[in-house]
């Protein structure tokens, strides 16, 4: 706290200066930058060089140190008291980035390298990134777009948004929503405790998709020709679909399974007390006022689900009927 106040005071009283320096880098070099306050803004270019621009206190000195495969942005604060620095970096597209901060907003644009961006009190915005992309914030929103590879995006107290991403996706929040659009992945897991989980993207054959929340809605846009085995589970919530589904099995509690197409992919939808909705791509994923945008006639409230299972019980077991020994069918 004292350090924060001191840093703020220093920022106010100290004259601001600008650093602008460029160094050449070898292919494969990774950039590391650990900031305290301010912002980190990274853009890319085709040169094998890093340009460091920064607005900072005149008491603060910046330098680029290369040690082996790592290029480190070194900061020397006056008397060791950290101050706010606004970093503007231009790096090669291929460069891997390891960026972190405390009271720091982080943005990366059009990177093709591995990215790790982590902050406590700030937002993380990433465009691009490949192989491994990690974006984390405690208090701020996390947004990742056009990334590929293994993607992890997490926030504690704000939302997580992914768009046009591919690869293995893991997204989570505690007190925020998780929204994904235009996703091309066969392995997606998204969860939150208090918020909406929304997915719009491909459902690939053989893929695995799991969306869960405790106190929010789960909304998934299902492409028309999707092949998926869908498992729905809720306790105090509801399930509705904008297209008809035929239940394979209803287990004790509000849990039911059904198959779309060949059932190749696996989709798990879980909300303890929220609504679980399947919708057509492009349909809105949130309720507007008291109205759903999709038709009620395919909604499956529990009484209807029970009627369905009574019919289903007359049929032979289906492929999805795993017959949990510890769980009874609905009477």
């Amino acid at each position: 706290m004292i350090a924060s106040l001191a840093a703020l005071a220093l920022t106010v009283v100290a004259a601001t200066t600008h650093t602008d320096t460029t160094v050449s880098v070898r292919p494969g070099t990774r950039l590391e930058l650990n900031a305290f306050a301010g912002s980190i803004s990274v853009v890319t270019w085709s040169r094998n060089a890093v340009r460091l621009g920064a607005d900072h206190s005149s008491h603060t000195r910046l330098a680029l140190d290369e040690k082996g495969p790592v290029l480190n942005v070194r900061v020397e604060h006056w008397r060791g008291i950290p101050t706010s620095v606004e970093y503007q970096l231009t790096v090669p597209k291929w460069m891997s980035l390891d960026l972190s901060g405390v009271n720091t907003d982080i943005s990366v644009e059009n990177s093709e390298g591995e990215i790790a961006a982590e902050t406590v009190q700030g937002e993380v915005l990433i465009t691009g990134g490949a192989k491994i992309v990690k974006a984390n914030s405690v208090e701020g929103e996390v947004r990742v777009a056009r990334a590929s590879g293994k993607i992890e995006a997490n926030s504690v107290n704000a939302g997580v948004r992914l768009s046009e991403c591919s690869g293995q996706i893991l997204a989570s929040s505690i007190n925020g929503e998780v929204r994904m659009t235009d996703i091309a992945s066969d392995d997606v897991e998204a969860s939150t405790i208090n918020g909406v989980v929304s997915y719009e993207g491909q459902i690939k054959d053989g893929g695995s998709y799991r969306f869960s929340t405790h106190s929010g809605d789960v909304s998934v846009a299902v492409p028309e020709r999707a092949n998926a085995s869908v498992a729905v589970a809720t306790y105090n919530g509801e399930f509705s679909s904008s297209f008809p589904v035929t239940l394979n099995q209803t287990r004790k509690g509000k849990r039911f399974d059904f198959t779309l197409g060949s059932g190749s992919a696996r989709i798990e939808l879980e909300s303890f007390e929220g609504e679980i909705r399947l919708r057509h791509p492009g349909d809105p994923d949130t309720r507007r006022g008291n109205e759903f945008k999709y038709e009620y006639k395919y909604q499956y409230p529990m009484d209807k689900a029970k009627r369905e299972v009574n019919k289903t019980k007359q049929k032979p077991k289906t492929k999805q009927d795993d017959g949990d020994p510890d769980e009874d069918q609905e009477p």
Partner: protein
Amino acid sequence: MTDTRGPACGLESGRLSAYLDGELTNGERRAVEAHLAGCEGCTALLADLRRVVDQARSLADAAPPEDLWPGIERQLKPRARRTPAPAQALAGPSAWWRRRLDLAVPQLAAAAVVLVLLSAGAMWLLLHGSGTRGPAVTGVTPVAPPPVAAARPESTQAPLAAAAPPASPALVTAGNAGYDAAVAELEDALASGRGRLDPRTLRVVEQNLRVIDRALDEARRAVAADPGNTWLRSHLAATMKRKVDLLRSATLLASTQG
């Protein structure tokens, strides 16, 4: 140790261990689960592996031994090169906790006992100094590590969690004792280090702990009402893990923000 049992078992060596550690992708995990459904040998081996975790319960009363440090150090090393701590400490759960584990509550509790040991050892070393091996922390009076296995009712927990609505004691089953001990331990550790956290960040942590506690309370009540519902148990276990993970990460962040 091999995990290939049974003449027709094609499961790769180490797969079960990775499964138990939550290191598999969603697809891999489901493949293992599908295999387990039809392979008695692997099912038995998995039970053996879990029993090893259970046996950790007997260690719960021990003070954190010094040789815990290498493992703790390995966990800390990646972020030791950069301070203050990145937000991954709070926002990015570790691989173990990230991945869904369909463990029953008692199994989670058993795993939590191991976490008690690790967290106690780590936090004692982090917050109270550790000679020349651990991260240097100044301004802290060395004290003995807190008791490891002292499970407490939630109503007597550290101030950080005191604001959270306590779960009904009736809903805390005996199988949760290890988990409660782990949570209590981490809350103690976080209470010790809360002065190092920015007040704003601390408020966010506390707010989110309350969010999780509300969810936990609701999930526990649901499990009590419908104990045979495996999904509810899984949901409860996942929520419990989220709390442990947030606490663990917050203590780590506190240790590096000081």
